[in-house]
Assembly symmetry: C2
Homo-oligomer: 463 residues x 2
């Protein structure tokens, strides 16, 4: 018995009213019925997700076979072709790629040679979108600063130098600004290039790349990340009064925009095929590592949720769509393109769900939507308490679903154990071995249950 009648619901609600008045607010929203109705099917999905390592093996195959998938690359488009083939083989409906033009930045050779106080070839990664240097490189003295405030205070000293922001990782939000806007701020005070300490809490001589911006107001200067180790070393050298001179060579280039695709498949709804629950992650990655954590894992986990429904013969009343968005990392064109391509259907997008924090052990979801909808998804979350993945918190979404959320679609992001995310984030070490098959299975279970119930329940999730 998957659904109970309205009368039954009222009787249950009345009995609760007499027995536990405090619980009235939640129960009256119909959520008790959700739990009862979907307990069995939720358990089926959870058990199926944990039965084997299919999703993890698929993620390994995808990332091993196609490697890094930066926008504009052959790797990315080959991966998308493969996903289309595989989604068709899984029997998903309406499998397709929807065209999106994406920025096309290509990393070249990048070297940073320290010349004084000692000669050493240091490991760097240009930040995504940086310009290159002239072929002879840029040779200059380094000025190490710990903040924009310090840069302002030492603006005179910075002129003609290479500025290094040696900023210790606190939170991503606090620290990433030096990656995003460091080249602009350094150019404002006349620096000829800028370097950052990689944005991460732990390093084994590990540079991190990531997006950066330029401004039309100031010259564009090359911008690259050092390892934590080398940034700290230069700080110590400067503190000792030593002069630091380096030569930076970077062959990074911008090419014209390239064609890419948002890749997707569906299980069309049995009663309301035009009403859509969309879930997924982004299929592009940076050009180092294989983007297993960021974010092929999110794509494959969402995809696996649909594959398991298919395998279990579960067709919800509304359509469930998995999307691998393109170009999250350096442009966000996939999310914007999806919004534009589906603008007419956005009113019927019931819920958008994204996993982009790595398929580590899940805790639940962060939800952005109305209070009424929040109470309902909290009730759905109870079905995930068995696997400790049912905590629904206020606020959440994802970069790829951001554009449709801003058009009014309720959104949620999968919440996971984030303790190691920034160890690997945007590094060569973002590979499948950092993830655990069971944790990924739990992510699949959480997304499958949430998506299925919201797509199937009597009530359309209110806005």
């Amino acid at each position: 018995m998957r659904r109970i009648t309205h009368l039954t619901f009222i009787l249950v609600a009345l009995s609760v009213l007499t027995l536990a008045p405090v619980a009235l607010a939640r129960q009256a929203g119909g959520s008790g019925s959700i739990y009862e109705t979907y307990r069995e099917v939720a358990d089926q999905l959870i058990d199926a997700a944990l039965a084997d390592s299919f999703a993890y093996d698929r993620l390994a195959e995808l990332t091993d076979t196609f490697g890094p998938r930066i926008s504009g690359s052959r790797n990315l488009e080959d991966a998308i072709d493969w996903i289309i083939e595989e989604m068709n083989a899984d029997g998903l409906d309406n499998v397709r790629g929807e065209a999106v033009m994406v920025p096309h930045w290509v990393r070249g050779e990048e070297t940073l040679m320290m010349i004084e106080p000692r000669v050493a070839d240091l490991r760097i990664l240009g930040l995504g979108g940086t310009i290159g240097t002239a072929p002879e490189g840029i040779t200059g003295e380094v000025l190490v600063v710990n903040s924009y405030d310090e840069l302002e205070a030492r603006a005179e000293e910075a002129r003609g130098k290479i500025v290094l922001y040696n900023v210790a990782f606190t939170t991503y939000g606090q620290t990433v600004q030096y990656r995003s806007t460091g080249a602009i701020r350094a150019a404002e005070v006349g620096a000829v290039a800028s370097l950052i300490r990689s944005v991460g809490p732990v390093s084994l001589s590990t540079p991190h790349t990531g997006a950066m911006r330029y401004s039309d107001e100031v010259p564009r200067i090359p911008h690259a990340a050092l390892t934590m180790e080398d940034a700290m070393m230069m700080q110590r050298m400067q503190d000792r009064g030593q002069r630091i001179v380096v030569r930076l060579n970077m062959d990074d280039v911008w090419l014209p925009d390239a064609p890419s695709r948002n890749v997707m498949g569906e299980i069309v709804g049995s009663e309301f095929p035009d009403e859509i629950v969309v879930l997924g992650g982004h299929i592009d990655s940076w050009d180092v590592g294989t983007g297993a954590m960021d974010d092929a894992g999110g794509v494959v986990a969402a995809w696996e949720a649909l594959r398991l429904m298919k395998e279990l013969g579960l067709r919800a009343r509304r359509t469930i769509r998995v999307v691998g968005w393109t170009n999250e990392e350096n442009g966000g064109r996939g999310g914007a393109g999806y919004r534009d391509a589906h603008r007419d259907q956005l009113d019927d997008h019931i819920l958008a769900m994204e996993s982009d924090a790595g398929v580590f052990k899940p805790r639940g979801f962060g939800f952005s939507g109305s209070d009424a909808a929040f109470e309902i998804v909290r009730e759905v979350g109870r079905l995930l308490d068995r696997i400790e993945s049912g905590a629904i918190t206020r606020g959440g979404g994802g970069a790829d679903i951001g554009p449709i959320m801003r058009e009014g679609v309720p959104g949620m992001g999968l919440s996971v154990d984030g303790s190691r995310y920034f160890w690997y984030h945007h590094t060569p070490a973002d590979t499948v071995d950092k993830l655990d098959p069971r944790d990924m299975g739990l992510c699949v279970a959480a997304m499958a249950v949430m998506a299925y119930v919201v797509a199937d329940m009597d009530e359309r999730l209110p806005r």
Copy 2:
């Protein structure tokens, strides 16, 4: 009063005998007197070692300024020159370098290009002492094995291939054999090159180098370390039935033996200047990272022990000598050279002490010597209980003091928290930021107290 008379000792021992017969065995050995006699001076040394970060700052300056210090390199000899200058400035006695000829292996360009099933430039480190390839490199199919047993079982398949030992880290002792002898075993079955999964428990795309051997019985083939990530990837590819083809290019070369030195300084003993307590570590390192953990930290901590004695005006009755041995990593010529140069004085080497496990939080010492000596150093260890560094266990020493221990000199190795040692061992991430100033101060304190007391106590440490 630093020493008590024999009569006082007997009276104390008798009173202990009447009050606590169980404690007799240890107290009767004279150890009670050691604790009483040296409590005050031990506290002085401990307090001085923890008062500031002088040792850590010196370690940072040494490793930042001279960088990696592989045998035969200019960096190593420059570092030794600097140490001699600084030891003289500290006022140590008999500061000198003692000549030792060392092997001279030089890493060249090293690349591993995966060609099938996908093109990727993989990060490698040739193992120390490997031959290079011909300029065109070696292109071949990879056979992944998990053990020597599997290699034997698949010997026919291995012929003409590049063997990859994908062996997960358990203990260093168990895992390192594939680094040490992997090229020999692969050559025995006709492989054209051999690769290992880097010997470490954790990786952020981190290759580990380290020593390897050849045999005169079989051809010498190139031998290099992949990252854990790439070794695991190739395992998965092979498990999927994919053919893996790579091209290995290595320009590593052997040059004629080069001059180096064991660097040392002393505080000459006030009563028995010919009796020596020697302590130290090795000043050479691998050619990646800056060898802060392995083992400049050991050298600087031992050196700091002497500097603090000097600063506190403490001159023990016997001579205390700090040594930075050369060429531990790829030859052991420093330890052997020290034995040969001091062969006539080995009977008067009272104790040899080495720190070569990183100057992490210390626990105590592992000791190799007679039962009588063990009881005495245990008693000295009590002076370190205050800083939780007084645990003396059976068995211990070090690679550099091994040659003189084999001639009968009692030896001990500083025991430290080893939880992260193999994260950094022989990698570009062996840098000073991995160490903590206070932990290093504790190592200094432990070595200073142990060395001073053994050098000063009434009784000569028995063999």
